[in-house]
């Protein structure tokens, strides 16, 4: 007789349903002709399509907590096309945008397809095998559909993708760098749905760098899904760099399942896209697992970035830390929605959650919602959030030491981001991202009108 008074989220008819359907029909017809993919992959495509077709994009936000602050009507209005032929691009052109050093093992996807004309640069490491994701026997176990429009879309259009298989007890391997490049299309707005599955064997330690860049002039849609499964005592260092174009749309999902004594540490750096969204869910399923989710986001002009960061402790002795920092200028908007769930019985959990924001201009908006859901009594959970602007006294201090206003301002902004950037152990990557922040600095400062006003 007790009913959960849960919100009923109503499905939305997809405006360009016929476009998506035609693309999907020809996609699956093609796949059947090739006949290479597993039954599991075929099934996932079918279920994904049915689910997306049923629920549509979550444009009706009333009562829909997950999309409270992000309006998707413009996504629904555009017919994003799957499978448009790629305009082709050279490795040199890509290397101008992102580092592809020999110290890393680089894999490049152009428009969602692992382009055979661009050889994987860097040498293959022992203990690490790359395969088609469709051959993965656990495919979709962490990200099937779950009434999520974007995960469903990704499942529906599941292509080769990338399966990263790391053997047991692999101690030192090169960082694996997976680059997703989007190019323009004559067919209209392009959509890509890449998927990476990572399996880290027991006792192994690995580094994954995931980079998204665009070389397209117009808008495109990018919906990546990453599934990570971690064995006992394994460690994964995951860096995520989102540099999509300012007219593009980026809806990413990362799901991590952690075994006993495993450590997952991620640092994300988000600067791109018109509307960007990243859903992260880490599940601490083994005792003494550790999850660290850190990130920095920067928004200018009319950009909109949304982070849905979730950690679930289902067993005792887990440790987790969510820490995000935002720098907002212009008329941009950022959303942080953090959630820590401590399930019944997950005693001795130690969880932290923090979101700090620096607002540089009138017109910018931040909506932050750090939430806790706790069903165990012997736990330590704390969370916090702040919003503010650059401190006038600090600025004055610097100026009184002869640092000019603009430089002082930039120093303070850089200092705010540094806390997150400094924890990037890979020096090449850290330098690259520091340079990216410096490139953005004029745009951040130009639109700023509040530094030192209080």
């Amino acid at each position: 007789m007790m009913t959960l008074n849960a919100s009923k989220i109503e499905p939305n008819p997809i405006r360009h349903a016929d476009v998506y359907r035609n693309d999907w029909d020809s996609f699956v017809a093609n796949q059947s002709r090739n006949g290479s993919a597993s039954d599991r992959a075929h099934e996932l495509r079918r279920v994904g399509w049915e689910e997306f077709n049923r629920i549509g994009f979550p444009i009706n936000r009333r009562g829909n907590e997950l999309w409270k602050y992000t309006d998707l009507r413009q996504i629904d209005r555009m017919p994003f096309r799957f499978g448009a032929p790629s305009s082709g691009i050279s490795l040199e052109a890509i290397a101008k945008m992102v580092p592809l050093p020999r110290e890393w093992q680089n894999v490049v996807f152009v428009d969602g397809v692992r382009d055979p004309s661009i050889a994987d640069s860097g040498s293959q490491s022992d203990g690490l095998t790359l395969r088609d994701v469709t051959a993965y026997e656990q495919l979709g176990a962490l990200a099937g559909c779950e009434s999520n429009a974007f995960v469903s879309l990704n499942s529906a259009f599941l292509d080769d993708g990338l399966m990263v298989d790391i053997d047991h007890d692999v101690e030192s391997i090169k960082p694996l760098h997976v680059v997703f490049v989007s190019t323009g299309s004559d067919l209209g707005q392009r959509a890509v749905y890449p998927r990476i599955a990572v399996s880290v064997g027991r006792g192994s330690h690995a580094t994954l760098i995931e980079t998204h860049v665009s070389m397209a002039d117009g808008s495109h849609l990018s919906v990546p899904v990453v599934e990570i499964s971690m064995g006992q005592q394994s460690t994964l260092r995951h860096y995520r760099v989102q540099l999509d174009g300012e007219d593009s749309y980026h809806f990413a999902t990362t799901r991590v399942k952690q075994g006993e004594d495993s450590r997952y540490r991620s640092t994300s750096f988000s600067m791109g896209s018109s509307i960007g969204r990243h859903d992260v869910l880490t599940m601490l399923d083994g005792e003494h697992a550790e999850s660290t989710l850190h990130g920095v986001y920067m928004t200018t002009n009319r950009q909109h970035q949304d982070f849905e960061i979730s950690t679930t402790h289902s067993v005792p002795h887990g440790t987790s830390d969510q820490y995000y920092k935002g720098i907002l200028s212009g008329r941009s908007r950022a959303v942080f929605s953090g959630k820590i769930t401590v399930e019944r019985g997950a005693q001795k959990t130690d969880a932290n959650q923090k979101d700090l924001n620096l607002l540089l201009s009138h017109g910018a908006e931040v909506d932050t919602k750090p939430s806790l859901e706790i069903y165990a009594d012997d736990v330590k959970c704390a969370h916090g959030a702040t919003a503010g602007h650059v401190d006038e006294d600090t600025l004055f201090y610097l100026q009184s030491r002869g640092v000019d206003y603009d430089t002082a301002q930039a120093m303070l902004i850089r200092g705010f981001a540094a806390e997150i950037l400094d924890e990037i152990e890979d020096e090449l990557l850290r330098t690259f991202l520091e340079d990216k922040l410096d490139e953005l600095m004029p745009a951040l400062q130009q639109a700023s009108d509040t530094i030192g006003t209080a």
């Binding site: 007789m1 007790m2 009913t3 959960l4 008074n5 849960a6 919100s7 009923k8 009562g63 907590e65 019944r344 019985g345 005693q347 924001n357 607002l359 540089l360 201009s361 009138h362 017109g363 910018a364 908006e365 931040v366 909506d367 932050t368 919602k369 750090p370 939430s371 806790l372 859901e373 706790i374 069903y375 165990a376 009594d377 012997d378 736990v379 330590k380 959970c381 704390a382 969370h383 916090g384 959030a385 702040t386 919003a387 503010g388 602007h389 009108d449 509040t450 006003t453 209080a454």
Partner: protein, 489 residues
């Protein structure tokens, strides 16, 4: 109420848990309108109260709006609460003690049995309680019983009376302020209340006047199957000050009772309202049967340099859905929210506040303490909104949760929306349990485990309790102790 009803109730009272000492019911002859909600009922309530045309119109508009929401299935479901669907046609919307048709002129005329009820509740209704310095307006089911201390307030031009009386005697004030902070379109339960509210309290403090006593309303639901829909409106004119106390109890009933109140506070320029609540509605049995469903909309609005402060101790109700809020419209105005909410046995509380900063240099403080015990579920849900014009607004929020036992839940859901870069906001929260070290320390000094628990919990809640007026603070401490019985030790 029929004799049979009475017998049933007294039997139930014996059956139920002894922990809830306010669970007696009172044998007073009641006048009941038929169960169910329709336009006729709204009209009946209005005509019973001899209301002017405009108020009836307002009620009917509210009813129309509610009906629309009900039709569209727009009952709010975002709160973390589980309860069976409410059948709005299975509720008495009007229940008045019969002897009230010829309203009492003084306390002597009040039904002695009812006075005894209030005596049991410890309400200072009589002369002797004047020493306590509290002016009381007691609301029994939906009708205001008596107001004490009237004359002394009158001298200063302070109006403190039942809502119905205010409609008769001060229609201009009611017309001006009713719905000005909580319009009937505000939400499902506010619309319902606006359509069928039967009574409540009204207070008006004239410009520059500091109300010399604490004003108090005591609410009590008595009739089985009745809803209580009271409406409170407090206006502190420019430079005025008032401290207002609200207490609530209900008898033990097997079935659940619906309570959907609306409280509107208006603090004009430099005005200040301090509003304290002890909510002790019947929480249901240990197994989660019965209890009050408490869906309350409370909101205040400030003028320049004004201040509104909410303090609440919530120990009762099976379901609590309540977010006392402040719209900080005036420049330099201040909003405060101090709350202790306890959910024991199968109680569920989803409560918090909303601070909406509109004016410049506005400041808000939120201190929330949630205690979960037994199978209780306690959620803090709070909103802080800084609108673009709110230059230099500040907010500090602290919400702490304490879990007693491993079958309960404590949740924190803050919403922080900042649209002005000069704002400064801080939110911090922690979750903990009573530490074994603290318990051991106290017990090693000869204090029993149960007392030690209470000492620690009371100390942990101190930041909120100390905001209450003295007598209320004592009561709150006792209430926490009684409400936690069986959960600790």
């Amino acid at each position: 109420m029929t004799t049979q009803d009475r017998l049933t109730i007294s039997r139930e009272s014996k059956l139920d848990d002894a922990g809830y000492k306010w669970g007696f019911s009172t044998d007073v002859e009641m006048e009941l309108a038929p169960k169910g909600l329709n336009e006729q009922i709204v009209q009946l309530i209005s005509s019973k109260k001899n209301e002017p045309e405009w108020l009836l119109d307002w009620r009917l508009k509210a009813f129309d709006y509610w009906r629309k929401l009900h039709r569209e299935d727009s009952e709010p479901r975002w709160a973390k609460l589980r309860y069976p669907e409410i059948d709005y046609q299975d509720i008495y919307y009007y229940a008045a003690p019969k002897s009230f048709d010829d309203a009492p002129k003084s306390l002597d005329e009040v039904d002695p049995e009812m006075l005894e009820t209030f005596d049991k509740l410890g309400i200072p209704l009589h002369e002797r309680e004047r020493l306590a310095g509290v002016a009381v307006d007691a609301v029994f089911d939906s009708v205001s019983v008596a107001t004490t201390y009237g004359e002394q307030l009158e001298e200063r031009g302070i109006i403190f009376c039942s809502f119905s009386e205010a409609v008769q005697n001060h229609p201009e004030l009611i017309k001006k302020y009713l719905g000005s902070v909580v319009p009937y379109t505000d939400n499902f339960f506010a619309a319902l209340n606006s359509a069928v509210f039967s009574d409540g309290s009204f207070a008006y403090i004239p410009p520059g006047v500091r109300c010399p006593v604490e004003l108090m309303t005591y609410f009590r639901i008595n009739t089985e199957g009745s809803g209580q829909f009271e409406r409170t409106l407090i206006v502190a004119d420019e430079g005025a000050y008032v401290s207002y106390l609200e207490g609530c109890t209900a008898p033990i009933r097997r079935t659940s009772q619906l309570h959907a109140a609306v409280v509107e506070l208006v603090a004009l320029d430099r005005g200040e309202i301090k509003y304290s609540t002890i909510q002790n509605w019947y929480p249901g049995t240990k197994d989660g049967e019965g209890g009050v469903y408490n869906f309350v909309t409370k909101r205040g609005m400030t003028g320049d340099d004004a201040k509104i402060s909410w303090t609440q101790v919530e120990t009762g109700s099976a379901i609590t859905w309540k977010y006392p809020s402040v719209i900080l419209r005036g420049d330099n105005s201040v909003g405060e929210f101090y709350s202790v909410a306890l959910a024991n046995n199968y109680q569920q509380a989803d409560t918090g506040t909303k601070m909406i900063h509109i004016g410049k240099n506005t400041k808000s403080t939120i201190v929330s303490k949630g205690i979960s015990a037994g199978h209780g579920e306690n959620t803090y849900r709070g909103g802080v909104k800084i609108l673009p014009g709110a230059e230099n607004a500040t907010n500090h929020t602290q919400c702490d949760s304490l879990l007693v036992g491993d079958q309960c839940g404590a949740h924190t859901v803050p919403y922080i929306e900042v649209r002005n870069p000069t704002a400064r906001l801080e939110h911090e929260a922690s979750t903990s349990k009573v530490s074994d070290e603290q318990l051991f320390y106290l017990m090693s000094r000869g204090i029993s485990e149960e007392d030690a628990h209470h000492m620690i919990i009371t100390g942990w809640s101190r930041d909120v309790i100390k905001e209450l007026p003295f007598e209320f603070a004592l009561e709150a401490g006792q209430l926490l102790k009684v409400s936690l019985e069986g959960a600790v030790g």
